[in-house]
């Protein structure tokens, strides 16, 4: 029963893996180019609503983000809070935040700055209306309601 040969047979040749780094580097470069650094810790839940008429926001550098939603940390209750950058904030902080963000940009870009409002579905319009009023006060008139694109029926 010498179906399986013993050590005497030819050794199996090693598989050539010299191209493996090339493949992995290719993947690596793809991810480096196609993705963007996660730059903030989310402190609030933002399950954004769905919509059909959404448009892509092309220039990511021309975006300011405002997050609104119930805190992720259950100990803080369920009342929706505003998050700017990495910290909780109140409606009164928005003017200052937008002004600060815009001051880092080129003056020519400021009219094109869009505020991306990422608000949870459960948020009530009261807080959103307040945010809109604050944005109008600092002349940040381009707003985008962040939404998931769904196909039109």
């Amino acid at each position: 029963m010498a179906k399986f040969k013993k050590d005497g047979g030819r050794p199996t040749p090693a598989i050539n893996t010299s191209a493996l780094p090339d493949i992995v580097f290719m993947l690596l470069f793809f991810f480096m180019v196609a993705t963007k650094m996660r730059d903030r810790d989310m402190k609030v839940k933002t399950a954004i609503p769905q919509a059909t008429e959404v448009e892509k926001l092309v220039k990511k550098s021309r975006l300011n983000y405002i997050f609104v939603g119930p805190p992720k940390d259950g100990d803080l209750g369920n009342t929706p809070r505003i998050q700017l950058d990495d910290a909780f904030a109140t409606v009164d902080d928005i003017q200052q935040y937008i002004t600060l963000q815009n001051s880092k940009k080129d003056e020519k870009e400021i009219p094109f700055m869009t505020t991306s409002l990422k608000a949870d579905k459960v948020v009530k319009m009261g807080i959103v209306t307040d945010i809109k009023q604050e944005l109008r006060k600092v002349n940040a008139l381009k707003l985008s309601y962040s939404a998931l694109k769904v196909a039109d029926e």
Binding site: V54, V122, V123, L141, S144
Partner: protein, 183 residues
């Protein structure tokens, strides 16, 4: 310099893949791929003086109200959200045929009012339907005039066409100054 030529030993590149994998995993973990998508809104500039009394006749304005219970009221009558788009399109393309709706598309206004207790989800849905109505009538007009959908018109080469469509159906989606309209 020795006179003997030695063969340069081959560098062992076996662990190159490991290094590359490590970097790959690092990038997979620390980056996100989400493309920001959203409904674009142009807010009206803030002005100190109260808005001038609207001289517009009532028939030019399609009044949309959402109450704190997320119920929709269009021109004083309750409506389901799936009927809203058609109603808004009828209003925009009326051109004076129906005496309750707008006289011309250039004057037609859609007014959206919501309560502080309205849910954001409902508001976005309504806003989406109204935007869709504008996009649909613009698409229809553009298709009739230029044989091309409005959304497919090139922003660089067909500026004039886009302007013409925008003039025919200007997006006059006004949002009321915030008030509490109660339940």
């Amino acid at each position: 310099m020795g006179s003997r030529r030695r063969d340069i030993p081959e560098i062992n590149a076996g662990s190159m893949a490991d290094i590359a994998f490590l970097l790959l995993v690092f990038f997979l973990v620390t980056t996100t791929m989400d493309v920001p998508n959203g409904l674009q809104v142009a807010l009206p500039p803030m002005s100190e003086e109260p808005p001038p009394d609207s001289k517009q006749r009532k028939r030019e304005v399609l009044e949309v109200l959402i109450n704190a219970g997320d119920q929709l009221l269009v021109e004083g009558a309750p409506m389901r959200i799936d009927k809203l788009r058609q109603k808004a399109m009828d209003h925009l393309t009326n051109e004076g045929t129906d005496p309750t709706l707008s006289t011309t598309s250039t004057k037609a206004v859609v007014s959206l009012k919501n309560d502080r207790g309205t849910s954001y989800d409902m508001y976005v849905q309504v806003y989406n339907e109204l935007t869709a109505a504008y996009n649909d009538v613009r698409d229809e007009y553009s298709m009739r005039e230029f044989g091309k959908l409005y959304t497919k018109l090139s922003t660089e080469r067909e500026k004039e066409k886009i302007k013409q469509v925008k003039e025919k159906y200007p997006k006059k989606l006004s949002e009321a100054e915030p008030v509490s309209i109660g339940k």
